[in-house]
């Protein structure tokens, strides 16, 4: 009976996570404890060790370290500054100018980088002090920066969508990438809506309007960075490159650009590489232990048990999708995005495909949902980064975060129940 295995798995996971064992090890330990119920001790240890290695043996996964490295190079290489300048000239004159600049810059950064942490740290460290000087509260600035950085995970390229492609058994990365554009922009616009209402009520300053000439100048200066979008996404959609090759090209491109801007030299390159290695290996350990955990779960037929349970509650697609979204919101509070995608995709995808949902649509919904989770305590990667950059504390940013979460949840509901939002662009490009 699976009940006993589920109990061991869930209990050990909750207890270990709760007392403060790092998430990655917790996943591995719960996996081993569960598999020990079914197979002999040494075999269990060697099987898990083997699962860890084989789960990383993939050419697709290689896109992740390269997109991370490209993100670091953009961060250090003067690309973020140019994108912010361009964003300033586009939306700076709206009420709450700096807040909008933050959102648009995060979306632009997200459109050329694959991870959100690089965007949060690059944009937050440049715009945070300026927002404070213009009279915005530190906490509001941090909240806007944290939530707007999530758009980069939905707008391609996105490491999380690559992970989803693997977890879902090879959903087309090109289709997922194209599908992310409209939902990502939707999230950005809804955050800007909240920022506008908030700043009008608080009487935050309107930024000065730049001249048309300045707009053109800032566009020209940002153009080489934005052109990366054409190379990477264009190449993937046209089927010229794989995601991994595109990511490698992004690395070379940003390296050359950073060198040309005199920001990247042979002296700081090793440090940038080491930073990329650290971020990569933290994600990779999570991938290795989550994939193993997911394997243990399917070995014990746990996903089948859960999906039977959910389908026995209701047969209404609306109810089931709402239920899945609520479970994922809850999971996202405690689990980082990568493990959540790897563990819950095999559980929920069979259910939603039964309801006729496209795996591409589900992937976008799931990633958008988990984007809220990485901004919430107790475990929120982006929350931690954003708060530490703004030099404030988590309890203080909760209040300004709440209306932004509400906006993201509205966007999530739209994406969930309006398939065309995700599926229209991929079908236009003939990718579905």
């Amino acid at each position: 009976m699976e009940l006993y295995e589920i109990l061991v798995l869930v209990l050990s996971f909750v207890v270990l996570l709760g007392i403060g064992v790092p998430v990655a090890w917790t996943l591995g330990i719960s996996g081993v404890l569960t598999i020990l119920l079914s197979i002999e001790t040494i075999t269990a240890f060697t099987t898990m060790a083997q699962r860890f290695v084989t789960s990383l043996d993939s050419f697709t996964l290689l896109a992740i370290p390269f997109f991370i490295l490209a993100g670091q190079l953009m961060n250090k290489g003067g690309i973020a500054t140019r994108l912010i300048n361009f964003a300033k000239n586009v939306v700076g004159a709206l009420p709450g100018g700096l807040a909008h600049i933050n959102v648009v810059a995060a979306m632009l950064f997200g459109a050329i980088a694959g991870s959100s942490v690089a965007a949060a740290s690059a944009i937050g460290s440049i715009l945070g002090p300026r927002m404070e000087k213009e009279g915005y509260s530190k906490e509001f600035g941090a909240a806007i920066n944290i939530t707007s950085s999530t758009t980069g995970l939905i707008i391609p390229p996105s490491n999380t969508l690559i992970v989803y492609s693997l977890a879902s058994g090879g959903t087309s990365i090109a289709a997922l990438f194209v599908a992310g554009y409209l939902p990502g922009i939707l999230v950005g616009l809804s955050l800007m809506g909240v920022a506008a209402v908030w700043t009008i009520r608080k009487n935050f300053p309107v930024g000065e309007r730049g001249t048309f000439k300045e707009l053109i100048q800032s566009f020209i200066s940002a153009f080489p960075s934005l052109f990366l979008l054409v190379v990477v996404i264009g190449g993937i959609i046209a089927g010229i490159f794989t995601a991994t090759e595109a990511a490698a090209i992004a690395v070379v491109y940003t390296l050359v650009l950073g060198y040309y801007y005199n920001e990247i030299t042979f002296d700081n390159l090793p440090d940038i590489l080491l930073d990329a290695v650290k971020t990569t290996s933290i994600v990779m350990l999570l991938i290795a232990t989550s994939v193993s955990m997911s394997w243990v779960m399917s070995f014990e037929s746990i996903p089948q048990a859960i999906s039977d349970g959910i389908l026995s509650l209701s047969n209404s697609p609306v109810v089931i999708l709402l239920l899945i979204n609520m479970i994922l919101l809850f999971v996202g509070m405690f689990m980082d995005m990568t493990p959540a995608v790897l563990i819950f995709t095999p559980i929920f995808l069979p259910i939603v495909t039964e309801l006729g949902m496209d795996p591409v649509h589900f992937g976008i919904m799931m990633v958008l949902n988990l984007c809220i989770g990485i901004c919430t305590p107790p475990v929120g990667t982006l929350l931690f980064v954003g708060v530490s950059i703004a030099d404030t504390t988590i309890p203080k940013v909760i209040k300004p975060l709440l209306p932004l979460f509400a906006a993201m949840i509205i966007a999530l509901l739209l994406v969930t129940f309006w398939p065309a939002l995700s599926m229209w662009l991929p079908s236009l490009f003939g990718l579905t």
Binding site: L16, L17, G18, I19, G20, V21, P22, V23, A24, W25, G28, I29, V32, I42, A44, F45, T46, T47, M48, A49, Q50, F52, V53, L56, D57, S58, F59, L61, L62, P65, F66, L69, F241, T244, E245, A248, I249, V251, V252, P270, L273, L274, A276, V277, K278, T280, S281, I282, M284, L285, A288, F334, D336, P378, V379, T381, F384
Partner: protein, 162 residues
């Protein structure tokens, strides 16, 4: 001692990551520019990723960079925090010894005996898998040195050094 271990690991990691970048860039170059795709780069890149990931995870473990929830710790007295930290390190230690070091070594041994070679580089697959026990031993070292340091501190010193 720990600084030396850190420095060596750091150099190895930067070297492997640099090699990984060069390797995949070379693959793209040979495929699109020279139009004769290199045959070994794909496999080398996958093996390098495994090595970078495991060794990097061990290094990150020494730097306490793996994400965790520290809500419980904040509610405890200094003495309690100290005990909890030792307990958590011991749990991770136990996992690393059983799965990475013991499980990983047995696995490498079986694969080595079996003599399986990789398809294009023709190197023993056991070499690739050996990073499991290697990184396991490195984490073991980091954890033992962490535990030793915490045990030797008074609870207040431990909190101050967090």
């Amino acid at each position: 001692m720990r600084d030396t271990v850190d420095t060596i690991t750091k150099y190895v990691l930067v070297f492997l990551m640099g090699l990984l970048v060069v390797d995949v860039v070379w693959q793209v170059f040979t495929r699109y520019v020279l139009a004769s795709p290199s045959i070994f780069t794909d496999e080398l890149a996958r093996f390098l990723l495994i090595w970078v990931s495991f060794l990097g995870a061990a290094y990150a473990s020494g730097q306490h960079m793996h994400l965790s929830i520290d809500l419980l710790s904040h509610r405890l007295s200094p003495a309690g925090q100290k005990k909890l930290a030792i307990f958590i390190h011991c749990i991770v230690l136990l996992f690393v010894i059983t799965v990475l070091v013991i499980g990983g070594s047995v696995l490498v041994y079986y694969i080595y005996i079996y003599g399986q070679l990789s398809s294009s580089l023709q190197i023993p697959i056991a070499y690739v898998y050996s990073i499991g026990p290697i990184s396991g031993l490195l984490i073991l070292y980091y954890k033992l040195s962490d535990i030793k340091r915490i045990v030797n501190q008074t609870p207040v010193e431990y909190i101050e050094n967090l």
